[in-house]
Homo-oligomer: 484 residues x 2
């Protein structure tokens, strides 16, 4: 009877039990945890709540022992803040710290602050280096050191090495345990090694072939190993690994690599090209999510805000963007101020002017969003940039013409003045063209000078469309009706 | 000497050559294709361009034979539209149709239209069912049928079955070739089977255990197979598979499953719970990208627009949203119209009024974006909704107070009227609270009634903030200064 196989993370909650008869039961447990929509079921949360209130440790352990780390994390998020760290304390050694890596940063830090450093150090013992680093990185130095001090020398050293890599680098995302064999081994030797080995990584999709200096010689996907005969030399069936990741590479670059070439895992090497770790696709899936979320939030001016942030943190994170917006709004008002005499003589202008600005703002945002996304997904480059710029301008002009007619008619009828209709129509065309042109040029320029277009484009674009919109409309009117 | 191992997709361009000595060369080929930033190098594109102009088929084949499908796709995107289908024609049988699946829909359809159906049918022969379906699904019926007619009966049948599943369903994303063994086999039998088998899937990370009726009995990760002794029975080491995907499941649901449990591949079953296919994480990575892109674009009102869309397609896709925005802008103007007499008596109001509306619009968009994303990532649920609603309202109030002071001072000084400063300050608070409250309530409500909050929230929120902003400011002013 061989040792029970180490589970892949995909199936860890089944294998937590280290037996093969359990799965069916465990599978049966899932529906009670989540409803059809895949949301956590209120019944389950209430049961856990009750167990926590009653300090019923045994019940709590029974309820959570078979939970996947992700379900445990969702459970914690569903609990009342005060119960969250209590749950961790009650479960003690039975709490799976991996769950903490699935929480919002703010929530994770709050929970960790309420736990004794010993407990944290103890709980991090079984974690992969990347998960451990993820848990420590957001803590302030004193807390971090307090925990590190309580870890064994070796663990601390390993962790330190990962933490030494810059945040958002491949080194932070990689796992430091992997399987490496010498090229002169045979398929048989390798398979036997895997059968006998005590400690194997939780998950692995390829085996790395290294020289005595741990420099990567090649890679060996598991299926290739399974398809080859035992006497076969590893060196004869290993593949070159064209997709080398440096530990210092930015995680977004690595994500692009995984997406483009559909990788499942990739070797990570240090400056001296020694193999130091492996990055798995499931970590990359998280990176992809993070990076896009970051872009969306930056476009809306909410920084890296999270649902669990405190009120004050939220106020602060939004204040800056609103302040910038106030400045641009005041600028637009100054433009209007230039024409106060004109408006005095024809109040209809005050009534109509927001329309031109608002349409320009929306058209500009449309173009800008296309541009920002295309830059992020590398869909826009020197090969098609010129084509896209002219396309956006033409689109702006065409939509401008269409809406010029619509609003022209509306205004003429509303105020019984064809002249007014013509004025707003002309202003509409001008502002829509400006929206298309600047909507694409601003992000491209920001990107060129190394500013994240997602974070800054919006302000500039709407400022342009406001100013151009108000100025065009009011000046055309002043000129056409010969007003002051 | 065993057959060269079938490559994983991650390394397909290395393995294209079916030898093990080539990798180094091929790896060396990559840098000439892409620069350090990972962008396609202009030199490479020009070389290809030249070869196409010169109808130099041999040169073209030499340049592209070792390209990964993703690189080939990027190359196509970098070419002049007329050269794109010419490249495919020139390469003939040597063109890897998988590359087409990596292109924008519009571009793919255009290229396919210019190719003879025979060529397409021929080129799709080697494709996985999901890729083949992906290529056909956007074509109009006649073209689709013309191609299907030219495929072998079996191929057509297989493909039809995939195409019968709804778009964006797991059935469309799954691959129909997978490895399934009976539970009574031993590890040895299975490994021998893998060694002898002629046709194995391009990539596989687990083996499925099925009964004679092809109902799924369990799954077997490759590493588990490698860790077990040859005499071991499969039934003794197989895992339960708690993450069953139904072929009719929505791809977004499947993506959530993969993300939450860090899956690498999952079995897909039909209504009678028979195993019909397998979904791999690399396909899910694409789904995640698509779904988020969709949300971003919907928030900006640009539908499922792509960079390669034609001018007219773009104008059309943006017109609707702009029309909706025009309606809301006119609505806001009507509100202003109610106060034309007031504005006549105090033009300063016309100058200041856009500020209140603009600030509300931005604050509302901030809140709305948080809500829409939280709904998409399942970070907001019945457990924290109430907390978030009150938080957003309070945040709106606090930022409202802060900016009330700022703008109040500015307005008082600018127009030398403390009264006017007080009026705009009061309006600011009211509108910012409204922005927070409706910014969260509107997406939550839309989500509840089954409307995608990403697509519709924006309009409603900005309409509210415009109307409330103008009305509050102008009515407060009329009342305070006792104007008509």
């Amino acid at each position: 009877m061989p040792a029970a196989p180490v589970p892949t993370r995909a199936e860890i909650f089944v294998a937590d039990t280290d037996t093969v008869e359990r799965p069916q039961e465990d599978a049966a447990l899932v529906p009670t945890v989540r409803d059809e929509e895949g949301n956590l079921s209120p019944e389950f949360v209430e049961t856990v709540d009750a167990a926590i209130e009653a300090d019923d440790t045994d019940r709590l352990k029974a309820l959570t022992e078979d939970l996947h780390e992700a379900d445990l994390a969702d459970l914690i998020e569903a609990l009342h803040p005060t119960d969250q760290s209590k749950l961790v304390r009650l479960l003690g050694r039975d709490f799976d710290f991996v769950a903490l890596t699935e929480l919002d940063d703010a929530m994770r830090v709050r929970i960790l602050d309420e736990l004794p450093p010993e407990a944290v150090a103890e709980g991090m013992r079984e974690l992969n280096s990347d998960d451990a680093a993820h848990i420590l990185e957001d803590l302030d130095e004193p807390d971090k050191d307090a925990i590190l001090e309580r870890m064994s020398f070796v663990e601390r050293l390993q962790l330190q090495r990962v933490l030494d890599y810059p945040e958002e680098s491949a080194g932070r995302r990689m796992q430091t345990d992997f399987i490496a064999v010498p090229p002169f081994w045979t398929v048989g030797q390798t398979i036997d090694y895997l059968r006998e080995a005590e400690e194997l990584p939780e998950e692995f999709y390829q085996i790395f072939v290294v020289d005595p200096g741990f420099r990567l010689q090649g890679t060996l996907p598991l299926d290739a190993l399974l398809r080859s005969k035992r006497p076969q030399k590893i060196s004869e069936i290993m593949r070159g690994s064209p997709y080398l990741v440096a530990a210092t590479d930015d995680q977004e670059e690595v994500a692009h690599l995984f997406e483009r070439y559909n990788l499942v895992s990739a070797a990570v090497t240090d400056d001296s090209e020694r193999l130091v770790g492996v990055i798995h696709v499931d970590d990359i899936v998280d990176v992809i999510q993070e990076e896009v979320e970051e872009d969306i939030k930056r476009m809306a001016g909410i920084g890296d805000e999270e649902v669990s942030d405190s009120i004050l943190a939220t106020v602060r994170s939004r204040f800056t963007w609103l302040l910038v917006n106030l400045a641009t709004a005041v600028l637009a008002s100054l433009v209007i101020g230039l024409f106060d005499a004109t408006i005095q003589q024809m109040v209809a202008l005050a009534v109509l002017m927001p329309i031109v600005a608002s349409m320009g703002g929306n058209a500009g945002t449309q173009t800008m969003t296309v541009a920002v996304r295309a830059l992020a997904t590398r869909d826009i480059d020197i090969f098609n940039a010129r084509r896209i710029i002219s396309r956006e301008t033409i689109v702006g002009f065409l939509n401008g013409m269409l809406f010029a007619v619509v609003i022209g008619v509306i205004a003429s009828v509303w105020f019984g003045s064809i002249g007014l209709g013509g004025v707003i129509a002309a202003a509409m065309v001008v502002n829509m063209v400006a929206a298309g042109l600047f909507g694409i040029l601003i992000p491209l320029t920001l990107n060129k000078i190394g500013v994240d277009p997602a974070i800054a484009s919006g302000v500039f674009v709407t400022t342009v469309t406001d100013v151009v919109g108000f100025f065009a409309f009011l000046s055309f009117a002043a000129w056409w009706f010969g007003l002051a």
